[in-house]
């Protein structure tokens, strides 16, 4: 069976779903179910007794086969991310942690230096570290060397819907990487997710594209189908590109000779 391997965990779904920006928790839960995602991201925030329905731990833990992957969103340094990871592990009981350190709210680009440092510390502590990074093959390799379970280069800026703007760099990362490469952020349409999978990505992580779609559960299903199709195509082996036409039908000129 074709499984996504992350540390000692394996998953049959290669679509990871984020839970932010949904209009309400019920729609989010429907989308998670429709997506078939087995890894779902969540974020830490302060408890607010007026908004108790924001607590997603209970509802998400009722969906069978779903593992939570908390993120360290809000951290702007490695130390803050490590701290968020420790708190998250207390809550989730899961060793998965998406290291996400973006100090600048204008572009939300990940800080490579702090991310590397946090990943190094957390991997040593036994976390399954999934760092959100810019599409940098050198950084990706360094993160693999310190024991990350996967690397998650961004397709384009978080929530931008600009798709696979970094496709060439992501291909380089895939070529060099021995751990799964997961495109995280920027995807807008299922076809982009299929493209990422055809390139050889291990999985894709989608949030906004589903959460703010006209019909989030349907879009979640569409992404699941696209990810599965892209993966199947990758495994089947895409044809080589050619600079010129290569005929698919015989070109022997028998018609001219006999008519």
């Amino acid at each position: 069976m074709d499984l996504l391997q992350l540390g000692s965990h394996s998953f049959s779904s290669r679509l990871i779903l984020g839970t932010g920006k949904f209009s309400n928790a019920a729609v989010m839960l429907q989308a998670v179910r429709a997506s078939g995602a087995q890894l779902v991201t969540v974020a830490l925030r302060r408890f607010n007794r007026e908004q108790a329905e924001d607590d997603l731990f209970g509802p998400l833990s009722t969906i069978e086969g779903v593992t939570l992957m908390p993120n360290t969103s809000g951290a702007s340094t490695a130390a803050e991310a490590v701290r968020a990871a420790h708190i998250s592990r207390e809550l989730s009981g899961s060793a998965f942690i998406k290291v996400e350190i973006h100090p600048n709210p204008q572009h939300l680009m990940p800080d490579p230096i702090e991310t590397f440092e946090a990943a190094r510390i957390l991997a040593k502590e036994g976390f399954l570290v999934m760092p959100y990074i810019t599409a940098d093959p050198v950084l990706a390799k360094r993160l693999e060397e310190v024991g990350c379970a996967a690397v998650m280069p961004l397709g384009s800026a978080i929530g931008s819907g600009q798709g696979l703007a970094n496709a060439a760099m992501i291909e380089l990362i895939i070529r060099e990487s021995s751990i799964p490469v997961i495109v995280d952020a920027g995807l807008r349409s299922p076809s982009e997710a299929a493209h990422a999978m055809e390139m050889g990505c291990g999985a894709v992580l989608v949030n906004s594209a589903v959460a703010v779609a006209g019909n989030p559960p349907e879009m979640a299903e569409a992404f699941a189908e696209a990810v599965a199709a892209g993966r199947k195509a990758f495994r089947a082996g895409l044809m080589q590109k050619s600079g010129s036409a290569i005929a698919t039908s015989p070109l022997t000129a028998f018609l001219g000779a006999t008519l």
């Binding site: 969540v42 408890f47 908390p70 993120n71």
Partner: protein, 67 residues
């Protein structure tokens, strides 16, 4: 009475209140809440016995939506 700082806001509590008492006061079963007292994580098994002190900084954190 003592006053603690709960998620950045002043919260009066009866003297001798434990972390579990605080959770009941605010209507939380504590199952899906991470508790930090003065930046230390307080595990569920220690909450019934840990007594809060005047001026303690308590953070209660939950999982919310995020990508």
């Amino acid at each position: 009475m003592i006053t603690i700082e709960l998620n950045g806001q002043q919260q009066p509590l009866p003297t001798g209140s434990t972390v579990s008492d605080l959770l009941s006061t605010i209507g939380s079963d504590g199952k899906s809440v991470a508790v930090l007292v003065n930046q230390q994580i307080i595990r569920p098994e220690n909450r019934p016995t840990l007594m809060l002190q005047e001026g303690d900084q308590v953070e209660l954190l939950i999982f919310a939506g995020g990508g």
